[in-house]
């Protein structure tokens, strides 16, 4: 299964620095990586959104959100445990460069 990126935009709060999440989004949009960007994983967890099952079922998923402990238990609380191989990148404690570097996203623009 191919690698997939899930980006959480944490729209209902300011805890994820706006410059970090915007820069990561720009770099994602400028790359040719496949991704799914969601407004707020917390809201999806509370609403038991079935899309979470799809994200969790994909062992190659890379989640770009906040603290890994929070993200893992949010998935658990929705009834869909994340696979152990899933990677979680924390936009609250890392810079956009660090997150994009870990995702292997190119620095500048490329094709859509």
């Amino acid at each position: 299964m191919s690698r997939r990126i899930v980006h959480c935009h944490c729209v209902y709060s300011k805890v994820v620095p706006a410059d970090v999440k915007t820069a990561v989004l720009e770099r994602l949009a400028g790359s040719d990586a496949e991704f799914e960007a969601v407004p707020d994983l917390c809201e999806m967890s509370a609403g038991k959104d079935p899309a979470l099952a799809r994200f969790a079922g994909d062992g190659e998923v890379e989640i770009v959100a906040c603290f890994p402990r929070a993200v893992r238990w949010l998935f658990h609380s929705a009834g869909h445990d994340l696979a152990a191989e899933a990677s979680i990148h924390n936009m609250r404690s890392s810079t956009a460069d660090e997150v994009c570097g870990a995702l292997g996203l190119p620095d500048g623009e490329s094709a859509s």
Binding site: V11, V15, E26, A37, P39, C42, A51, F67, W73, S112
Partner: protein, 284 residues
């Protein structure tokens, strides 16, 4: 004890599959900043966006063939998507702030203190006798009070500003830290409500000799604000906190009822009845 509060509106219906798809080439002619701005505007308006093979199937809208992006302001793109969402009678993005506790079961010991402490029926016990967060929408926005009560630092609020409550790793010094100790002893070691009344009473007495009762009220407000700021707990919640004795008694009753139910719940029917029992249903 205060009456239980009505729930907040709650999360919107699942929308994860009602996404906006970016078609191959859908962003051609738009620079990285422009693409990022369109994505951010869509997400901020509550629309998930997907760019992957087959994303166009079942999508609410496709950036490319349905909705153009080149030379258009992000707001225009959002308006077009919102119109499609309305036309499809799809649920609107939530009017609810997703603020609620999340349990770290690697740490939780099922002591039931959170269930006993929360007066708003957020917590419940599942069919296996395990504490669970059942009514997220009943949680008070921005109130992390129950996380302060948990002796295992097992309750997270992912949108809280500070660790470890926000999900940051729990370190030994977090548990022992002065602020955590102060918070917990403020909540459990003393009865805030009586403390407030006492403090307000002595202030009243002092000020009554000066025939200025409004100052006593000010003193009480200042005291509330001090606690609110220190613990990040909204005053409406502070005023309805149970006392330390109440918490212990409710936790003891919850554990006793849980044991009693588990002992009885050998039949499938009984097991079903136990599912999702809240503090209210258990009359604790």
């Amino acid at each position: 004890m205060k009456p239980r509060e009505a729930a907040r509106p709650g999360p919107s219906a699942p929308f994860g599959e009602l996404h906006v798809a970016v078609e191959p080439g859908g962003f051609d002619g738009v620079d990285a900043a422009g693409r990022g701005a369109v994505l951010a505007a869509l997400l901020e308006a509550g629309h998930p966006v997907s760019r992957k093979a087959g994303a166009g199937e079942g999508a609410l809208a496709r950036l490319g063939s349905d909705i153009g992006v080149v030379d258009r302001a992000p707001e225009q793109v959002v308006e077009d998507v919102a119109a499609r969402r309305e036309a499809a009678a799809a649920p609107a993005p939530g009017a609810w702030t997703p603020w609620f506790p999340v349990i770290d079961y690697d740490r939780c010991t099922n002591c039931m203190q959170c269930l006993s402490f929360c007066l708003f029926d957020v917590y419940a016990v599942d069919g296996e006798g395990r504490i669970t967060v059942q009514n997220q929408e009943k949680c008070k926005t921005s109130c992390p009070a129950c996380s302060r009560v948990c002796p295992e630092v097992a309750i997270l609020f992912p949108k809280y500003k500070k660790g470890p409550i926000n999900g940051d790793e729990v370190k030994a010094e977090d548990i022992a830290s002065e602020s955590m100790k102060v918070d917990i002893s403020s909540l459990l070691g003393g009865d805030i409500y009586s403390a407030l009344k006492e403090r307000s009473g002595s202030a009243k007495k002092r000020f009554s000799t000066e025939r200025d009762e409004s100052k006593a009220l000010l003193e009480r407000k200042r005291c509330l604000k001090e606690l609110k700021d220190k613990l990040d707990i909204p005053s409406e919640v502070l005023m309805s906190l149970p006392s330390a004795g109440d918490i212990e008694e409710r936790a003891r009753r919850a554990r006793a009822k849980q044991e009693e139910r588990i002992a009885r719940s050998r039949s499938a029917q009984d097991q079903k009845e136990t599912d999702g029992a809240s503090a209210k249903e258990w009359d604790i």
